[in-house]
């Protein structure tokens, strides 16, 4: 930075300070009068600005919803069908997976109106666990996560 640049910067800083002091020294009433003369009703203006901010915030939030909806559509097309496996093997595998979940894995399980698991439920749970990466899809090792 040259000496001339530094001088200009100092001048600019002095001007900014003077402007700030000028604003701080002005009363609220004077500011409102000045605003009204230049831009019209301050309340109307503040309402319009607030509404603009709210609309922007809402748009950003709705964009999150649209992104999630797009994710759901993509997920639907990528869902895979289950392969046929022996139900005894599947039950054993599920039992082992549930019993041997390591402590560092935060495992969540809740089922409404839970009764004894049917064959379809066992296969469905294994499919879910495969999708979640807890069990490798072609696991031959017995399903240790």
């Amino acid at each position: 930075m040259t000496r001339a640049d530094k001088k200009a910067l100092r001048a600019l800083s002095r001007l900014a300070n003077a402007l700030v002091e000028d604003v701080l020294a002005t009363s609220d009433g004077e500011i409102l009068t000045e605003f009204t003369e230049t831009h019209g009703d301050p309340r109307k203006n503040s309402d319009a600005m607030r509404s603009l901010f709210e609309k922007s915030v809402l748009n950003v939030r709705k964009a999150r919803l649209r992104a999630a909806q797009a994710g759901v559509t993509a997920d639907r097309t990528s869902a895979t069908a289950r392969k046929i496996v022996s139900i005894e093997d599947a039950r054993g595998k599920l039992r082992r997976v549930l019993a041997s979940c390591p402590p560092h894995v935060k495992f969540t399980l809740a089922a409404r109106n839970e009764d004894e698991l049917s064959d379809a439920d066992v296969l469905g749970m294994l499919q879910d666990l495969e999708e979640l990466g807890v069990v490798p899809p072609d696991d031959k090792s017995g399903g240790h996560p």
């Binding site: 809402l58 748009n59 950003v60 939030r61 709705k62 964009a63 999150r64 919803l65 992104a67 999630a68 909806q69 994710g71 759901v72 997920d75 869902a79 894995v105 935060k106 495992f107 969540t108 399980l109 809740a110 089922a111 409404r112 109106n113 839970e114 009764d115 004894e116 698991l117 049917s118 379809a120 439920d121 469905g124 749970m125 879910d128 666990l129 999708e131 979640l132 990466g133 807890v134």
Partner: protein, 255 residues
Amino acid sequence: MKGLTPAERLLQDLGISEPQEIDLEAIAFHLGARVRFRKLEGCEARIIGCNDTAIITIDHSCSPTRKRFSLAHEIGHWTHHRGQTLVCRVEEWRPQDKMSPERVANTFAADLLMPKYLFATAARAYPKLNFKTVAGIAGVFRTSLTATAIRLVDLGHSPALLVCHSSLGRKWFTRGPDVTSRWFPRDNLDADTFAFGVLHGGQPDDTMPHRMGAEAWFDRWEAQKHDVYEQTVRTGDDEVLTLVLITDSRMLEEY
């Protein structure tokens, strides 16, 4: 976002400003949970989660309103009980323990499906509380008649009680915030009530509320001095739901 429940905050976080925008699959996805509709035999819905991702499975044979409730309920578990293993049994609408995981998930589901900030506006369009109003609002929010009626009564649309009976007696009831606790519904349906005719006499659903002596509904000496309005609809083979409307302002006075 002050005064909002966790479910309502979630909805506002996604910019949901109309009941039609309550897209539960998208909400689940936003939280890291994918939804599958498959045949389930041992339960109506379940969630399996690993760290911050989960799969919610809903029984595809349930009714659309039931599926929505189950999905909202599982999103409630995912929000409040992450990292826990829960086994949920068949329970009545309102489990006794306020902090029970099922009650927490049910409350979350009600808030997610019928958030107060949207529900109150929709309810204001209906000045009278009756089952026509309930059905109209249930259609907007895609919720069951029972869940919607509970919400309307609990939020104090009009001073009322909602009572559910089977042939074995009263199953549960809820009381609006304006109705004092001294009005406690009888255990069994009085034979004079219209509800009795619907449950036991094969009568059709009431199309509008009927005037009835309050003593038919409440076992209190002072009930003889008042009338209430009742309307009953059948909600199951052996289940009826009755709105008991309190229109006499003296019944609302505190002692």
